[in-house]
Amino acid sequence: MIQKKVCMLGSFSVGKTSLVRRFVDSIFDDKYHTTIGVKVDKKIVKTNGEDVTLVLWDIHGEDVYQKMRMSYLRGMSGYLLVADGTRRQTLEDALSLNERVVQEFGKIPSFLLLNKCDLRDQWEIEPSQESKLIGAGWNVFQTSAKTGDAVEKVFLQLAQAALDK
């Protein structure tokens, strides 16, 4: 069976762990748990009739106190860059993080997730900006770990992209 290492990247509290839990265990928990270091999870998905084991590295969110360790990303086949749609700053942080990743590892299949799309009323990212990102070549998805919107699809597509690479 093919295995693929996939990383969850993004600022703290954008919902990386929640997305993984929703994807792997179909559970959402409102309580916030800071991830310390890394949490590794896995899920077997089927793309093109082929089973793929996704090993998900849920890496701790980056903030002023802890920089993300690039070494955790080694050997990954794809990553999800997660931003919190209700916090504009997290998108900027995600993009700058992405630059560092690309610099270190080159171009690797990746999607940009604007998470927490269930909180529409607090949304801070304008559609125009989203279009700009798409224009820059990003696959942008609005996701919600709470409702499960687009979560499964995003992981499946990333698995596909990782396989095709």
Binding site: M1, K5, R69, R74, G75, S77
Partner: protein, 607 residues
């Protein structure tokens, strides 16, 4: 088909309207469509014919199912499942044997295997339970299990397991993805993919956090009884989950395995894209690392050692006891030998009864105390039961002893017996000698008395008196039978001694004869001298008799000049010859003659 049917309907109407015209038309039509019509009829017939249709389907059914399955669609299985289930159920209902027979080759081995496995594990746990339950160690472990709240089996494992390699992971170093994973039987595991991921995350975390150099890697993780040993090669990480304490050479084994894998799979490792398939080939290599070492069971090693020690001690004790017993027997027989040689003791029989020695025989009351002899031999007197009846022994030593008991000899006398003859040596008083002579023959065992070597101490005194008397020379003046002046003292001394001699000699049954010998010097006529000498002797006799000396035994005589005491070359010599001297002799009243052992009898005054 419907189209053909529609086409056919107008043709039939035309035939009815004009048969003539139609005839030609019919002919034409026949010419044109007849073959098709025949074909159609054939098809029609085939479709209507169930049998033919079945034949048709049967030709393609297998291929159809095969094709449908190839699409990966579950529909076929879903469609067939109820029917198959129903079929099986129906088959079993009708005749269970058919299905049973069909399944037998499969079920038989499966059931056998299952039963064997169950029995084996039951036996193992039963053995283990037996091993551990009844030993002191087992009880200790049970107490520990109660105390710590762990299950007994955990405690047993904890104590009896030296180490066990439970899992081995081969991990792609860069991505942390599992290349291979081997688990020991009966070990419960978590998802290896996640563990491998976390392990490499931890490795990276440690390396980053402590700024380790590239070749410095995390070697092991310890979690209670569990250890994770890690070894890295350029492309792979080998992780072994060990319970207990593996020896250092296990790391060597890990290293060798990893090097081996790195060499064999170098290109597969370098080009790893997530397909772990090729690494299945490393199964065998990794399985070798799964090893379990138990503490050497005490039943394997300790038991023989304990048995050996116990046996050794028992043997030593037995040999010691044997040695002790034979030593005791030897000691006792030695003692018996000594006892039998003991004068006055006769051993008639002897037997040992457990710890006690029974000795029966006779013993003279004067023989040595046998209990004391037991003690002297270094044996326990308590263990000697001696039944020795009293008797009179005729043994020489005992006879002598008995004589001593009865005769109370003075310290100067030594008694010895020799074949019934009692021999007395030394000196004793006349009274004791008399007692000896009277009593000795009555003593048991004495047949004869030999007192020839016994001195009469009283007799000795007589001889002393005799010599002191004989040493006295009473002097006379020239030509006179009267004592010279100044000789009175000597005369008194002679008188005293003689009286003493006479008194003492009475007790010895001795007759004492005292010769009073008168001497004269050569001056004057020989005849005169002889008379003078006789007168001198007579003179002294008279004096003695006058002073109460018994007359018997006093024998005065004159020798004149015939027995001069000295030569008469000097006046002094002549003076000595004008004298009276004494000679004392004893004669026994009985026939026995008592002779003086000493030379004192021959002492003569002068020369």
């Amino acid at each position: 088909m419907a189209e053909q049917a529609q086409r056919r309907a107008p043709m039939a109407q035309a035939q009815e309207k004009s048969t003539d015209n139609n005839h030609a038309y019919e002919e034409l039509r026949h010419l044109i469509v007849a073959p098709e019509q025949e074909e159609l009829a054939a098809i029609e017939e085939r479709l209507d014919n169930l049998e033919k249709r079945t034949v048709d389907v049967s030709e393609v059914v297998a291929e159809a199912i095969h094709m449908r399955r190839a699409t990966g669609d579950q529909a076929l299985a879903n469609a067939l499942a109820p029917t198959i289930q129903e079929t099986l159920r129906e088959s079993v209902r009708r005749d269970p044997h058919v299905l049973a027979d069909a399944l037998f080759p499969v079920m038989g081995p499966a059931i056998r295997k299952s039963i064997t496995e169950t029995l084996r594990s039951m036996l193992e746990s039963f053995n283990e339970a037996l091993d551990n339950s009844f030993s002191t160690r087992g009880i200790q472990w049970r107490i520990e299990a109660m105390r710590t709240g762990k299950s007994f089996s955990e405690i047993v494992l904890m104590h009896s397991l030296l180490y066990r390699v439970e899992q081995v992971f081969l991990i792609h170093r860069e991505s942390g993805l599992v290349l291979n994973h081997i688990v020991a039987p009966t070990v419960a595991t978590q998802d290896p993919d996640m563990i491998a991921g976390m392990l490499s995350a931890i490795q990276q975390f440690v390396r980053d956090s402590f700024h380790a150099k590239n070749d410095e890697t995390l070697g092991s993780l310890n979690v209670g009884e569990l250890q994770v040993w890690l070894e890295e090669s350029p492309n792979a990480v080998l992780a072994a989950v060990v319970r207990g304490h593996a020896p250092a050479d296990f790391r060597q084994a890990m290293n060798e395995a990893l090097e081996d894998i790195q060499r064999h799979f170098s290109s597969a490792l370098a080009n790893f894209k997530g397909d772990a398939g090729p690494f299945r080939a490393a199964d065998e290599r990794l399985s070798k690392l799964l090893e379990t070492r138990y503490r050497e069971s005490p039943t394997d090693k300790k038991k023989p050692r304990t048995a050996l020690i116990v046996g050794g001690i028992a043997l030593a004790l037995f040999l010691g006891w044997l040695g002790y017993v034979s030593y005791l027997s030897w000691e006792w027989s030695r003692f018996l030998g000594a006892l039998q040689k003991q004068p006055g003791v006769v051993v008639v029989s002897y037997a040992r009864d457990g710890r006690t020695f029974h000795i029966q025989g006779f013993r003279d009351p004067l023989s040595a105390d046998p209990k004391a002899l037991v003690s002297q031999a270094g044996l326990d007197p308590e263990r000697a039961d001696m039944q020795l009846a009293p008797y009179y022994s005729l043994d020489d030593a005992i006879v002598a002893k008995r004589a001593e008991e009865l005769l109370h000899p003075p310290p100067t006398v030594k008694l010895a017996a020799n074949h019934g003859e009692l021999r007395a040596e030394g000196s004793a008083s006349q009274q004791w000698i008399t007692k000896l002579e009277e009593r000795a023959p009555w003593i048991a065992g004495v047949t004869k008395v030999d007192d020839s070597h016994l001195l009469n101490s009283n007799l000795q005194q007589l001889y002393t008196l005799k010599s002191s008397i004989e040493s006295i020379v009473l002097l006379f003046p020239l030509g006179s039978a009267d004592l010279e002046a100044g000789q009175e003292g000597k005369l008194t001394e002679v008188e005293t001694r003689i009286r003493e001699l006479q008194t003492q000699s009475e007790g010895f049954h001795q007759t004492v004869t005292i010769d009073l010998i008168g001497h004269s010097d050569t001056t004057g006529i020989e005849g005169t001298n002889l008379v003078l000498s006789q007168q001198r002797a007579e003179q002294i006799r008279r004096f003695l008799l006058k002073n109460g000396i018994k007359r018997d035994g006093l024998r005065p005589s004159g020798v004149g000049t015939t027995q001069p005491l000295r030569d008469e070359a000097s006046e002094e010599g002549r003076q000595l010859n004008r004298s009276v001297t004494f000679k004392v002799s004893f004669a026994s009243n009985t026939n026995a003659t008592v002779e003086s052992p000493t030379t004192s009898t021959s002492t003569r005054p002068g020369n």
